[in-house]
Amino acid sequence: MSTELSRRTFLRATAIAGGGVLLSSFWEPLEAATKKPAAAPVLNAFIRIQPDGIVAIASKNPEIGQGVKTMLPMLIADELDVDWKQVRIEQVDFDPKLYENQWSGGSQAVPNNWLPMRRVGAAGRAMLVAAAAKTWKVPESELSTSKGKVLHKKTGRSVSYGQLAATAATVTPPDLATVKLKEPSEFTIIGTPIPGVDNRSIVTGKPLFGIDITVPGMKYATYLKCPVYGGKVKSANLEQIRKMPGVRKAFVVEGSTTSNEFGSGVAIVADSFWHALSARKALQVTWDEGETAKQGTAVFDARAAALFKEPPQRSIRKDGDAKAALAKAAKVVTAEYSYPFLSHAQLEPQNCTAHFADGKITFWAPTQTPEDGRELVAKVMGLKEDDITIHIIRSGGGFGRRLKNDYMAEAGWIAREAGVPVKLVWTREDDFAHDFYRPGGYHSFTAGLDASGKLLAFRNHFVSFGTEKDFAPSAAISDQEFPARFVPDLAIEASVMPLGVPTGALRAPRSNALCFAFQSFLDEVAHAAGKDPLAFRRALLAVTPLPPSAVPPTRKPSPPPTPFDAARMNGVLDLVAEKSGWGKQLPRGTGMGVAFYFSHRGHFAEVAQVTVSKKGELTIDKVWVAGDIGSVIINPSNAENQAQGAVLDGISEALGQEMTFENGRAVQANFNAYPMMRINQSIPVEIHFRKTEFPPTGLGEPALPPAIPAVTNAIFAATGKRIRSLPLSKHDLSWS
């Protein structure tokens, strides 16, 4: 399959002190191998075997709660054929000379690493087998491995990897591209539930997260930015602040004019975070608020209403002639949908520790994208990338927020100005005020049915944010948004309005919004057609699809995207219908809703059952999930946890979350105004995976999108009330 290392890879073994072995792979950049004389190979260490049999395995990607720190080493350990109990995991630093794809996002860790990490482990195993063959003077073909031992069945001999390590270090490593991998039936770790490797530290309160970092001589910083995006400091009462208890420094930071990841503000550096915060309460800043101060939710809503009355500004996809087909339709359904801006609200507030000395800087950064962080810091601080060291630190939640590295730029700048190591910590209010929000959006839909209730024509006018050239980040729509390709006459069109509020990826970006609008409207169309909503979807999937058009580029380097596959979607739709008992009679006030979505290479269909009292009190009784993420569920324990969490996360968003803006600033400032689901609102979520022949893909995101329309469609089934905007807290669900 396509999950190949994008570079030519070589392996080297090195004996280590004490007789162990360090298995390293050399990755020679492809361009160097083909265009230039071979560059000096770089070392890429993943496995270290100690004489006592302990196997240290490197985990290279940022852990943000998605389980990658456990999952990637599982791939190596299984192919190495060791007992998981022998394994110790080491989080390695950011180092693009040694490791590839050191980032976390887009549910990409599995597709990017499924084969490469297994090959690293398999190569290690091959070298240990070769070492045993050499020691015993027997052919390698007579040897097998199990749980960290090489076995010679003929003679009943066995030897541990730890004992073989020194000899293995002298073996010529195999070619990673051709090294033999296990058959799935031979897996001993992949496919078994492995608890998170940091669980013990978490439950005993060991320092683990960015906010827990302590560096000798470290001071604490708070940073107050203009509440209006892009605003600048005009003046501040710094003299007064500098005299306050515990304050070491107070200064204005100009910020960047070219990056929205380094805003202007006032930094206070103090002996403790509380000293810094106390001084901040006395801080008085005059701001030049700039243009964005004219923007706000009411302005956006009014502009969207106006844009719907005008012809769309751009065409995203056009198949056939939707206008003509709608004119001929036996029945036409129209509706407008909208959804609000959202905040990431990851529980660990943004923070970063930085130490600048002798022209070089070191970061302890809870970031999803250390490479982007380095690029940003190099740019805004005028440093060479080689002078920037980044320790990857576990994040207390990512959800896409830590794809951005504003806190790194701020911590770096403040540390250099302060002349001491600095831990920058944001307040929760900073976090809500300075997010890269999930953008809101507005959809005007029209669908045309023939006399038999078949969907023949479909039109969506999407009003979003952006410029003449581009959509704002995460505010775009794809030309393959379902039912695109499955309806002969279809138009997806868009108009945009300018946006000064920064936006970015929130878990299942775009999908988390579009799925609600499209799968809710399709549900409406199904009811208008007099069809069962699940059967209506099945019929749509049975249409021979039109070809996909050009696929937008994904983040580099990455296996090519898996296309939407109607058969796989049908498979999960059937599975969720069976598991949920779809179609059974339910009393009035109780209803089931269904939705499906393809995102991040995962096909997911979900059914929700809700009960709504006559007064309008909503109880979500249960959610059933059927997912297809390929042939193997690498870690079933984490898979269930991620999928349940994603469903509850989506429902949490739908229930009550909304960011609004007035005069260019966020209105909601803390959790009291931005409700997160709590345990008393949690819902049973039953997860089923349908295993198919495809290579495994990621699970951080794709279970989220269908949860929202499954619930809103269930509300319609229960009450006859169609939910066309979020959050649900703004709707009266009462019925009689």
Binding site: H275, L347, Q644, R678
Partner: protein, 163 residues
């Protein structure tokens, strides 16, 4: 101001402004990083500690208000992670990002101390102040029930009285 705090069975002294929340006194003053900062306004529960056995939000508890009360943080729940809740949390593989879990466990510890066999409703009541942004609630609930079971086993094994 100088404060003497009874933390995890030890008397610790620190210098702090009187309005400094206990959260920051623990984290920055006493280097006990297990108690987490989440919201600063007692909305998320990440900072939950036990004060004389009661679950309290340390982010809004001034250090000057604690006096001679006995403080237990996640670090003091057991010496080695052997508290039934800690064991159950590991066995059920509760955490995703893990950031809220110390606060969750402390709230659960206060619950189990008073209600050794909690119902789902008891759990909802005691735990609704703790946000898990990753929404691991289904496992948190399971782990609390499991810990209640472990508690029973441990109690009968060690004392034979079930007390």
């Amino acid at each position: 101001m100088k404060y003497k705090l009874k933390v995890n069975g030890q008397t610790r002294t620190l210098e702090a402004p009187e309005d400094m929340p206990l959260l920051w006194a623990l984290r920055d003053g006493l280097d006990l990083k297990g108690t987490k900062f989440g919201c600063g306004i007692a909305q998320c529960g990440a900072c939950t500690v036990l004060i004389d056995g009661e679950a309290r939000r340390s982010c809004i508890t001034p250090v000057s208000s604690v006096g001679k009360a006995s403080i237990t943080t996640i670090e003091g729940l057991s010496r080695d992670g052997s508290h039934p809740l800690q064991r159950a949390w590991e066995e059920v593989d509760v955490p995703q990002c893990g950031y809220c879990q110390a606060g969750q466990i402390m709230s659960a510890a206060a619950l189990l101390a008073k209600t050794p066999n909690p119902t789902d409703e008891d759990i909802d009541d005691a735990m609704a102040g703790n946000i898990c942004r990753c929404a691991t609630y289904l496992r948190i609930r399971r782990a609390i029930h499991r810990a209640a079971g472990l508690n029973k086993t441990t109690a009968s094994a060690t004392t034979g009285s079930g007390k």
